[in-house]
Every structure is written in structure tokens, then in C-alpha cells.
């Protein structure tokens, strides 16, 4: 078996690859049901918050093998592998999510889906590198719950701290999400998964 295949198999590639289309189909189904509700496309807010969370939580399984210490004992530097794998996973997941909500993409549609996948995955990468690969989904989950509870918040600062619940148009919410991804990528690619269980 090639080292690349071993790397991917240890990171639940098969399970995640099977689960991802299922989540995408479910997302499309729910989004189409919501779009006929009185709010129209705006009623898709719960989907654009929760679907990226589910997908990035699935991707979180791929960020570390069963034994982090064993991973770290590899003789070769693996940062390129981590960077490539992370970006490829995000690209696939982001595109798959975006196609579920192409109708009115600026109103809680494809734009918000991609931004939220980017931001939440950034949070997951950060917690994988700094805290725990096993519980790396916790900050993203807690953030989603906390921010969804206060939605809709129209205060001026909300576009920064509540980027998850903003419509998909280009505004500072994108800066917040991309900043999180950048920070997460730097930490995860440089340090690898944390040693904490």
C-alpha cells in the first residue's frame, strides 16, 4: 500500500467520502423545503449555519490518525501533505455545499455556505492544532449554537462576531471567516495535530 493511501485510510477517508454525499443530498432537500416558507430564501438561514457545521465536523475526522504520537514519529516532514489534504478537503466540501443553494445565492445561499464552511473549518483546524484532535469540533459547535441563538442580530458589530448568520454577500463576515481559516491553516500545517487526546 502506498504511504498516501495509508495516510488517508488512517483518517477515515472512506467513511467521510460516503457520508459527504448523503449530507449534501439532505441539505439540498431541507433547503428546498425551506425556500417555499414565507421568508423565501432567507428562511434557509438554519441550513447555511448547520450544514457547513456537519460537513466540517465530518472533515474533522480526517485531521489526525488514531495515534498522534505515531504520526509525529514519521521521519519525513508532513506539512505539505497536511496542507494539500486540508485544502483539497475544504474545496470539495465547499463546492458540494455551494451547489445545494444556488437559487438566490446572496441570500443565505451558496455564498453563505462557502463562507461558513471556510470559517468553521478554520475553527476546527485551530482547535486541532492547539487543543485536541478528538474534541476539535467542540468550539465550532458551541459557536454555531451560541450565534444561532442570537440570530438575527442587526447590531453593527454582529457582522464580525456573528459572521455565521450573515447573508452570503461580500462583507466583513468573509474577512472574519477567511482570517479564521488562515490562522487555522498556519497552526495546523506547521504544528500538526495537538498531542492532547
Amino acid at each position: 500500500m502506498s504511504p498516501l493511501w495509508l495516510h488517508l485510510r488512517a483518517r477515515h477517508l472512506t467513511g467521510v467520502t460516503l457520508a459527504l454525499p448523503l449530507v449534501v443530498v439532505l441539505t439540498q432537500e431541507v433547503a428546498q423545503r425551506l425556500v417555499v416558507e414565507p421568508g423565501g430564501a432567507a428562511a434557509r438561514l438554519p441550513v447555511t449555519a448547520v450544514a457547513p457545521l456537519v460537513v466540517t465536523v465530518l472533515l474533522s475526522l480526517t485531521l489526525a490518525g488514531a495515534d498522534v504520537e505515531l504520526d509525529r514519529s514519521q521521519p519525513r516532514l508532513t506539512w505539505r501533505l497536511r496542507a494539500g489534504h486540508t485544502l483539497a478537503a475544504l474545496a470539495v466540501a465547499g463546492s458540494a455545499l455551494a451547489v445545494t443553494t444556488l437559487e438566490e445565492p446572496q441570500v443565505y445561499g451558496a455564498g453563505a455556505m462557502v463562507r461558513n464552511a471556510v470559517g468553521l473549518f478554520g475553527l476546527i483546524l485551530l482547535s486541532t492544532g492547539l487543543w485536541s484532535p478528538r474534541a476539535n469540533w467542540v468550539p465550532a459547535f458551541a459557536y454555531t449554537v451560541a450565534v444561532s441563538a442570537v440570530a438575527p442580530d442587526s447590531s453593527s458589530g454582529a457582522v464580525w462576531w456573528a459572521w455565521l448568520i450573515q447573508p452570503g454577500r461580500l462583507d466583513p463576515s468573509w474577512i472574519a471567516a477567511v482570517a479564521l481559516l488562515t490562522a487555522g491553516l498556519i497552526v495546523y500545517v506547521r504544528r500538526g495535530p495537538s498531542r492532547n487526546g
Binding site: P46, L53, V54, R134, W137, V145, A146, V147, P152, S155
Partner: protein, 452 residues
């Protein structure tokens, strides 16, 4: 054993229980749950549009916020429950002399204590926000508040059971997301809406749960919680079948109240919808549940009455019963709408202008089969102008909405502006011609009035 040993043993057991519970509280996500519940819950109260100043409406708000807290609690409980499995410590713990139920009860208990604490913080904040304007304490609103707490406890039990049965690291987030969609489906009025543990009680002021609905609604979460806990804690999990049976009976009862059936799960609260009126003339009446608003509403309503009386034979102003919306009101009454007027931590009114614009609803043509949107481009301008004039031009936009008209076209806006800035004498003359045309739904006349 001596006679005095009993209390001593109980005291030691109590101290041991407290120590283990304290340990669980520190080691589990309980403190995080309390923090997220308190901070985001209280913050969401700030952003929430309060229905009205009443305990029943407060119960609805609490239920709405709990729709987000339930999944969080279930996730935390699942994480705690899966700890033994994730750490592969089952065999080690099985070798200890204490029964597993004792240990598991403490683990779940920590989440339940966190849930209770978070709920109390939320409920206390909400109560403090509503209390200054509350004028009616009747009704069965405490049931709604208790049901919300029970629902949250049920979420913790469901999460705990899922985490115990499937101790995978993804079980906690997936149970949280699954619960979120279940609750979301219920709030959209989905299949057997009332089976969702939280978020399904759209309680509003001046309403109460029907008495036949309360018992199954209380039994359902208790039975589900019991079933879930017995399933993973009892030495004989088959006892869970009894809980499942009770839950099934409750669910069948609740399904009678789901969307599409003729049974209603809430009804007007007779005491809250009774009217409280001023003793002096012209009379202003509000619902008993809003009696606290009466001093603030009276001068505003009388001012609107004076303006409306120039054109219409009305003698009093009264708040509409929100549950009788659409029913024909008394012809001599200016309807008042006081929904969403509550200001948190205050007895003030949120938007006095909205009350002033209530008169807008009186000028819309009400002929059988007449629809404003089908009347062509010009009659709506006349209707909007009449609504603006009768309510005072500053409140014209809201008044036009009350009359069922939205004007976006710039030409139409200019025509409207011309009409509402005319001299009072011209306005009076125009209004009398408008009311005659509106009474007969005379579209050509309304078109001419819009142009004139």
C-alpha cells in the same frame, strides 16, 4: 450496627454523592454548557422581539431560545456519556464494587444540574425583563415554563443515552444536529409537532394551553427521559419498555393535536382577553393582560380618536383580541394593536407611532371580493394617502401597511406626498370624497382621487 450509625452512614453517603457530583461537574462540559446557555441565552433576549408583556408570551420566548439550548445540552450529555467508551475504561470500571447506575446517574446528574442552572439563569433574566410591565398573573403559563425545563432535561437524557450506546467521537455533534432538525421541523409545524422536546410551544399572551393537552404534554418528556435513562442505567433494561409504552400513549394523544387536525392546543385565556377600560370618555380599552399599558396608551389613542372622528363615526378605541384577528370589529371602535410593544426591563411602550397608525386599517375598502393588489396601480395610492391622513402624516408608512398597501414606485410616492402635504381643508374635502368611493369600492373614483 449501633442505633446512631444510620444517620452517620447517610451523612457519609451524602458527602460522597456531593463529592462525586462536584467532580463530574468539574470534569464534564457542564460548566461550558452553563456559560454558553447563560451568555447566548441572555444575549438573545436582548435581540428577541418580546411578544407582549405577559408570562404566557414569556414562556413562548423561553421555548424559542430553548430550541437552540436543547441540542447543546444533548451534545454535552452525549460527550460525558461516551467518556468511558472513548477511554476504553469500561472493563476497569466494571471491576469496581459499586453498581454502574450510581456512577452513570452522577455523570448524567452533572449535565442535568448544568441544565437546571442554565435554565434558571435564563428564566430569571426573562422574568426580570417582563415583570415591570406585567399586569396579569392568571392563566396556566407556569405549565409552559415547566414544560420548557422538562424538555431541556429530556434533551440531556436523549443525548446521554445516545452517547452511552454509541460512544463514537462524532455521536455528540451528530445527536445535537439531529435534535436541532427535529426541533426545527416541529417549529415549522411538521409531523406531530408537539413531540419535539423543546421549541414547539409557541405560547403567546392572552392564550393558554387547553386542559386536555397539558397532561400528555407533561407525560411525554417524563416518559421519554425515564425510558432513555433506564435503557442505559438499569440492571434490567427491559424495564424501559414500560416507559416506552407510556410515551407511546402520550404521543398518540399528542398526535391528535398536530397540524391538520381539528383539535386546538391553545385557546384564548378569558381573563386575559377581558377588556380593561378607562372610566372617563372617550373610552379607551386594552386587554386585561395589557392593563399596565393603559396610562401610556390612553393619551395616544385619544389623539388618534380625535383625528379619526373628523371623518368617521367612531367613539372609542379598543385593543383587538389577537386571537380574533380578521373578525369584524365594532363599527364605532378605533382598533388598537399592542402586540410587540414590550420594552425589556421597563413598562414603556416600544413604538407609540405604531399605535397612532392603527387608524390606517379603518380606511381600506372592505367590499366582498375586493383585493387591494388587484385594483391596479392608482387606487392603492389613494388608500395609502387616506391612511396617512387619518393617522397623521408622520405615521403614513405604517398606516398604509395597516391598510394593506405598500407603495414602492417613485411616481406613486410623489403622488402620495402631494396628497398628504395638502392644506387641512383640502385634505378634509378629499377624505370625504375618498370615504364615499371606498364605501362603494368605486375603482374609477379611487383612481381619480389618486390622480387629483
Amino acid at each position: 450496627m449501633t442505633v446512631g450509625a444510620g444517620p452517620a452512614v447517610r451523612s457519609r453517603t451524602g458527602a460522597s454523592t456531593r463529592r462525586v457530583l462536584g467532580l463530574e461537574l468539574r470534569r464534564s462540559p457542564a460548566i461550558g454548557v452553563v456559560l454558553v446557555m447563560s451568555v447566548s441565552g441572555v444575549w438573545s433576549l436582548r435581540a428577541a422581539t418580546f411578544g407582549d408583556a405577559g408570562w404566557a408570551g414569556g414562556g413562548g420566548t423561553l421555548s424559542q431560545i430553548s430550541a437552540f439550548m436543547g441540542p447543546l445540552i444533548a451534545t454535552a450529555a452525549a460527550w460525558s456519556a461516551g467518556r468511558e467508551g472513548r477511554r476504553q475504561a469500561q472493563e476497569l470500571l466494571a471491576a469496581t464494587p459499586r453498581p454502574p447506575a450510581q456512577r452513570l446517574l452522577m455523570t448524567w446528574g452533572a449535565t442535568a444540574v448544568a441544565t437546571l442552572t442554565g435554565f434558571l439563569v435564563l428564566a430569571a433574566t426573562l422574568a426580570a425583563a417582563i415583570a415591570p410591565a406585567v399586569s396579569d398573573n392568571t392563566g396556566n403559563w407556569p405549565v409552559t415554563w415547566i414544560l420548557t425545563l422538562l424538555g431541556l432535561i429530556t434533551c440531556s437524557a436523549l443525548g446521554f443515552t445516545a452517547g452511552r450506546l454509541y460512544p463514537h467521537r462524532l455521536t455528540p455533534p451528530l445527536i445535537g444536529v439531529g435534535l436541532f432538525f427535529w426541533i426545527g421541523n416541529a417549529t415549522l409545524g411538521g409531523w406531530i409537532a408537539h413531540l419535539a422536546p423543546v421549541g414547539q410551544l409557541e405560547s403567546t399572551d392572552a392564550t393558554r394551553l387547553t386542559s386536555g393537552f397539558i397532561l400528555p404534554l407533561l407525560v411525554w418528556p417524563i416518559a421519554i427521559t425515564g425510558t432513555a435513562l433506564v435503557l442505559v442505567m438499569a440492571r434490567q433494561p427491559r424495564w424501559a419498555a414500560i416507559g416506552a409504552l407510556i410515551a407511546t400513549v402520550a404521543a398518540l394523544n399528542l398526535s391528535d393535536y398536530s397540524e391538520g387536525t381539528d383539535r386546538v392546543w391553545y385557546e384564548p385565556d378569558p381573563k386575559a382577553v377581558a377588556q380593561t377600560c378607562t372610566t372617563d370618555e372617550p373610552q379607551v380599552c386594552v386587554l386585561a393582560g395589557h392593563a399596565g399599558y393603559l396610562p401610556a396608551v390612553t393619551p395616544v389613542a385619544r389623539e388618534s380618536l380625535r383625528r379619526a372622528q373628523r371623518y368617521l363615526p367612531i367613539t372609542r378605541a379598543a385593543e383587538e383580541n389577537p386571537l380574533a384577528e380578521g373578525a369584524p370589529g365594532r363599527p364605532d371602535t378605533l382598533p388598537l394593536y399592542l402586540s410587540h410593544q414590550s420594552v425589556p426591563f421597563s413598562s414603556r411602550l416600544r413604538d407609540v407611532g405604531e399605535i397612532r397608525s392603527s387608524a390606517g386599517g379603518l380606511v381600506s375598502p372592505t367590499c366582498p371580493g375586493f383585493e387591494v393588489h388587484d385594483a391596479g396601480p392608482l387606487p392603492p395610492i389613494a388608500i395609502a394617502a387616506a391612511a396617512a391622513i387619518i393617522s397623521g402624516t408622520a405615521h403614513g408608512d405604517t398606516a398604509a401597511e395597516m391598510a394593506g398597501v405598500e407603495i414602492d414606485d417613485p411616481v406613486a410616492v410623489a403622488a402620495l406626498h402631494r396628497r398628504v402635504t395638502a392644506t387641512p381643508r383640502t385634505q378634509d374635502d378629499w377624505m370625504h370624497r375618498y370615504l364615499t368611493a371606498a364605501r362603494h369600492c368605486d375603482m374609477p373614483a379611487l383612481t381619480r382621487l389618486a390622480q387629483g
